[in-house]
């Protein structure tokens, strides 16, 4: 048995070594989209309070004009939303070490993530540790599980990336196309190429999503920060009345369920349903005009909470910023 244990340990260690070696030590593209995680954490470290921290998936990166929010509310803005594959648990956890009195957290999680019991993330949960190893500090057991689930896939991708590097064109998401707030700007002057995938809207939160909201709410209270819920954009094809009725029904039901969380909500999910002309490449990513409209709607809804505004209400709105 001893012989077996020694040999099997050696074998497993060797396999693990080449997986880890390939994942972490092969050359990386420092301008890849996921590498932006470093900049976001730096933003969290250096941005002065009072500040608004936006958390969620890529719909926030593509669909938020943080500069408009900054000018309107007078608060600094850190947009942490950039990849749905990181999962709800990671979004909530990665901001926790930075939270303090004077922080406002606005959580706008994509509906699909609220429907998915896997809150531990997908392949990006591994990729993020390549560029920002400290991310492991924010892992919970759910993230650890996802990490090991997706480690082989990342191993494959890393090898594939070495032997056949992917080409970069105007549609490729790049780290350098984020602005100082963390908004993605690379899609603003690019022709949309919308690919439609099934729209998943739950009528109720999963138990896992509920736990994450409640845990984050309590953590914010403990740290003197405030948590709000906002809503992502949602695409419903123009003229599809049946679909709109179906989606609205689900959103109303979800809204009622979310009210029980006891977290203030910015607007109503119905306010952020847009037709396809406002979307860029996926059903979650707004284009330039969609981004501007969504941000205006959000600011309008934020007026229900005067404490979010530290400057007088004179704002009329400006076109979408392309400030870097």
């Amino acid at each position: 048995m001893k012989k077996f244990l020694i040999k099997s340990t050696l074998f497993v260690a060797t396999v693990f070594a080449y997986i880890i070696g390939a994942v972490y030590f092969l050359p990386v593209d420092q301008d890849s989209y996921i590498a932006a995680t470093k900049d976001r954490h730096r933003n969290l470290e250096i941005t002065q309070r009072p500040r608004i921290i936006l958390i969620g998936g890529s719909s926030l990166a593509f669909g938020t004009d943080s500069d408009m929010i900054h000018r309107r509310t007078g608060q600094n803005v850190v947009n942490m939303g950039y990849h749905g594959g990181l999962g709800l648990q990671f979004y909530a956890n990665e901001i926790k070490p930075y939270l303090g009195r004077g922080d406002t957290v606005i959580a706008a999680f994509e509906y699909q993530l609220l429907a998915d019991p896997n809150v531990g993330g997908m392949a990006p949960i591994v990729e993020v540790t390549i560029f920002y190893p400290r991310a492991i500090c924010y892992f919970t057991p759910r993230n650890v599980k996802s990490y090991f689930d997706y480690l082989p896939i990342t191993f494959q991708r890393r090898l594939r990336g070495v032997f056949s590097p992917s080409t970069v064109d105007e549609h490729t998401y790049r780290r350098s196309k984020f602005n100082k707030y963390g908004d993605y700007l690379g899609h603003l002057n690019v022709a949309p190429h919308l690919g439609i995938s099934p729209q998943i809207v739950p009528e109720k939160l999963t138990d896992q999503a509920r736990d994450i909201y409640v845990e984050l709410r309590d953590y914010c209270v403990e740290k003197g920060a405030k948590l709000y819920i906002a809503f992502p954009p949602l695409m419903v094809e123009k003229g599809n009345g049946d679909k709109l009725r179906e989606v609205t029904g689900k959103l109303n039901s979800l809204y009622r369920d979310m009210e029980t969380l006891g977290i203030p909500m910015i607007g109503n999910p119905r306010d952020f349903v847009y037709p396809e002309e406002y979307f860029y490449d996926t059903i979650y990513h707004l284009n330039g005009s969609g981004r501007e409209m969504k941000t205006r709607e959000m600011i309008k809804a934020m007026k229900a909470y005067p404490s979010l505004f530290t400057v007088p209400d004179t704002f009329q709105g400006t076109p979408a910023s392309t400030q870097r």
Partner: protein
């Protein structure tokens, strides 16, 4: 907890180490606890269901002992009705209700059948059949009833084979739980190698092919014949690799702890007749039906019409066992029909085969050569594209004719002819399975019929890749070839045993290559198909 998840690897490692670290007398407790934990990871309530079936069958076995035949029959019937009742309630009731509702609608009866909202418990068909097998064995006096409730509960719930088989026989598995297992290096490593082979088939082959098949079945009406043909072929290997992978992992993990489970697959796609196919596919289920249904019905020792009826009953029920849908029933019945037709036509087919191959043997080499050259010239003259379905067929025909011209005058020609006979038999058998499997995979009978009716519509390779990159598309064929190459080697003996005789460095290099192959070839995995049964 799926076999193809990191949690299972962790669970299995912990259980195996605990198993060997523990004194023999406590092992059954640990294994029983581990098995219930494994099962209840899906749903805690499942534990109550399996406990109910266990208690019913255990109690019936004890009650039945040394009772007169009439009393035994009553106990047996009660136990079977209770076990099948649970199975019916959770798996078949809604199917039954919908079918009755369909009938009511057809005859304009205004009555609504209520539907139940139960989730189908994983593996319920497997452990129910294993339990029924035990109670019938006790009834027949083929074994004494098991008096140790814990050991019996372990027999019903043993985690390696709990949710997708093999469906074990009490005569073989129960005594093994009393046997003291010691650590055997060769057995443990053999078990691990078998598990690795299972992981390869599931992660690299089945899940890869599933991508194509699933994409087609989202909307089969949107695809041309070539895509439908490819998806039918890919599904055959997908379902085989998926299910046999589960069996390999189950058998391998039990073997690590010293337990032998029965083989469930024996290279079924190499079968030369449909009868032989069903003696190589899902062996534990087919032999279960044979032992506990087909033979009690009279088997083949009855008038011919009864024999054929017995075959149809067994195969229709085996189809229904797979799922509460008419597609499964039709799939099973179709296989029964193939077997009957095979029996009915066997003499005639043999005569025709002998005549055809006799003719092939008599044609002179020069004729083959001239025919091959003529086909090539005609194709060239007509400007036929090689990468078109007609081009591929023509090229294959041409190659075959030229090959025949070459081998005709060689001394090994009779062997080639025998090989060709075997190949044709395998090809026909495989295609019958692929044909039937269309029903197995389709969402409804209508969809299956649509696919079969449009298999040869607009045959073109254009768009056949369904948006997959060329490398991904070619990989789908490549992994099938890899599986079949392994199977061809297995004809000459166990690959695991062959490996054992190689030097350490060679073995390790091969093991690493294999694991590397799994890592590089795997997809983010999906659930095992047979878990739903």
């Amino acid at each position: 907890m799926f076999f193809n998840s990191p949690e299972f690897l962790l669970f299995f490692t912990v259980v195996s180490i605990a198993f060997f670290a523990m004194p023999h007398r406590f092992r059954w407790i640990m294994l029983l606890g581990a098995s219930y934990f494994f099962y209840m990871c899906w749903n805690v309530n499942y534990g109550a269901l399996i406990l109910f079936t266990t208690a019913v069958v255990y109690g019936a076995g004890i009650l039945m002992h040394q009772k007169p035949k009439s009393t035994k029959s009553i106990i047996l019937t009660t136990a079977i009705v209770l076990c099948l009742g649970v199975l019916f309630l959770f798996k078949y009731y809604n199917f039954f209700a919908r079918s009755v509702q369909g009938f009511f609608d057809l005859v304009n009866v205004d009555r609504k059948m209520p539907l139940l909202g139960f989730l189908l418990p994983a593996g319920i068909s497997f452990y129910t059949f294993q339990s029924i097998g035990y109670i019938i064995d006790v009834y027949r006096g083929e074994r004494e009833p098991e008096r140790h409730f814990g050991i019996f509960a372990l027999y019903v719930s043993f985690f390696p084979q709990l949710v997708a088989g093999p469906i074990e026989r009490s005569k073989y598995l129960l005594p093994q739980f009393r046997k003291k297992m010691t650590f055997d290096y060769d057995r443990v490593t053999d078990g691990l190698k078998l598990m690795a082979w299972g992981f390869f088939k599931k992660l690299v082959v089945a899940d890869r092919l599933a991508l194509y098949v699933d994409r087609v079945h989202i909307n089969p009406q949107a695809h041309d014949g070539m895509v439908l043909i490819l998806s039918a072929i890919f599904f055959a290997w997908q379902v085989y690799c998926d299910f046999s992978a589960y069996s390999d992992i189950a058998i391998g993990s039990a073997q690590v702890m010293g337990y032998d489970l029965m083989d469930n697959f024996n290279r079924p796609f190499h079968a030369k007749t449909i009868n032989e196919f069903w003696s190589r596919w899902h062996i534990s289920l087919i032999t279960w039906f044979k032992d506990y249904l087909y033979i009690p019905l009279g088997g083949n020792r009855v008038p011919k019409w009864r024999w054929y009826l017995n075959i149809m009953i067994v195969f229709s029920l085996s189809g229904l066992w797979h799922g509460a849908q008419w597609t499964f029933v039709l799939w099973g019945s179709m296989n029964g029909l193939f077997i009957i037709i095979s029996h009915l036509t066997i003499k005639r087919r043999l005569i025709i085969k002998d005549k055809i191959f006799g003719l092939i043997a008599r044609v002179p080499a020069a004729v083959y050569g001239a025919a091959g050259a003529a086909v090539a010239a005609a194709a060239y003259w007509r400007g036929m594209q090689v990468w078109s379905p007609a081009g591929v067929v023509t090229a294959a025909a041409c190659a075959l004719l030229l090959f025949m011209a070459f081998v005709k005058t060689r001394s090994y020609f009779p062997k080639v002819l025998e090989g060709m006979k075997g190949f044709v038999a395998v090809f026909v058998t495989l295609n019958l399975f692929i044909f039937g499997a269309v029903f197995f995979r389709s969402q409804s009978v209508e969809v299956a019929l649509y696919i079969l009716a449009h298999l040869f519509d607009n045959l073109t390779f254009q768009g056949a890749a369904l948006g997959f990159s060329t490398a991904e598309f070619v990989a789908m064929f490549f992994v099938i070839i890899v599986v079949e190459v392994f199977h061809a080697i297995q004809r000459h003996g166990s690959i695991r045993h062959m490996l054992r005789e190689k030097p350490l460095l060679v073995r390790w290099a091969l093991y690493h290559l294999f694991v590397f192959g799994i890592l590089i070839g795997m997809y983010k995995t999906m659930q095992f198909i047979y878990f739903q049964f």
